[in-house]
Assembly symmetry: C2
Homo-oligomer: 142 residues x 2
DNA sequence: AATTAATTTGCAACAATGTTGCAAAAGTAC
DNA sequence: GTACTTTTGCAACATTGTTGCAAATTAATT
């Protein structure tokens, strides 16, 4: 099961034309293990301090560039990342789903099944992307 | 007209039970002058370095607490603030409008006239607040 | 208008977060 | 295994945000 994940991760990296390194594998493992979005500090904690901070920054940036992960907007200074489950894998992100932030447990989740609604903006605005972040109480927190 | 604004600002501060200080007046002036959201660094630049960084942080936090300004979600580490134009003035924020981030000029605007759409989330999720941030090209940038 | 009381400010010191250049290490291709 | 390319870790620095505390400012009272 762990090795199953490992195989999947190696395949993902290769299909993104990225070399397979310990840091990248570990960070992807943490993404797959976690049930919510992660931020930079989480990787330092969860990885047991085994990787340099700079390497984590660079790895996350690489994953962003390759469309392996996406960012989730927040109103604080933290930057949250989640793995892209579905379509988006190549150049552009297509994570057209809603994000949910639980005020109880603090977790941020991708609601893959909840589509972004269609918006009608005032004339003159050219829409490229719509982000929806819902806050409230999640399923697990009742 | 500048003094007209000043009167308005003094009234706003007093109605929020805040004492009228140079920093608070100046920051509110900058909000009213600007046609988009501002972030912390903007106040340092726009005010001509006349106020201490710490004071700006504390002032913005105070304005948040009093419902004078609201935050706008971003995917970078910056925190953007906009003045609350309409209802929300007391305890809670009611800025149920869409925010727009222009990829050309970098400005962030409140689209007060564009309502947040109604969402249907999966069972078990309790919705408290919905944030919508649209990115694209704004009216001014054609 | 002067005194008093409460609030706000600026400074220093610190913590956390993010960036860049560069040499050593690891990965990939041959 | 060797050569070539990419990635990593370290150091050094920049930016952003927080806290305690004394001095300054504002508001309330006489
Ligand atoms: Mn997502
Ligand atoms: Mn707004
Ligand atoms: Zn929860
Ligand atoms: Zn624009």
């Amino acid at each position: 099961m762990a090795s199953k994940n490992k195989e999947l991760i190696v395949e993902l990296l290769k299909s993104s034309k990225l070399s397979v390194t310990d840091t990248r594998v570990k960070i992807l493992e943490l993404f797959l293990k976690s049930n919510g979005a992660l931020e930079h500090a989480d990787f330092e904690k969860l990885s047991g301090k085994s990787f340099d901070r700079v390497t984590i920054y660079r790895t996350l940036q690489t994953f962003l560039d390759k469309g392996i992960v996406h960012k989730i907007p927040t109103t604080d200074t933290s930057v949250r990342y989640a793995i892209c489950r579905s379509e988006c894998r190549e150049h552009e992100h297509h994570d057209h789903h809603v994000h949910f932030r639980c005020e109880e447990c603090g977790s941020t989740q991708c609601l893959e099944e909840t589509d972004i609604p269609v918006l009608s903006l005032p004339k003159g605005y050219d829409v490229h992307n719509v982000e929806v972040v819902v806050s409230g109480v999640c399923k697990a927190c009742h």
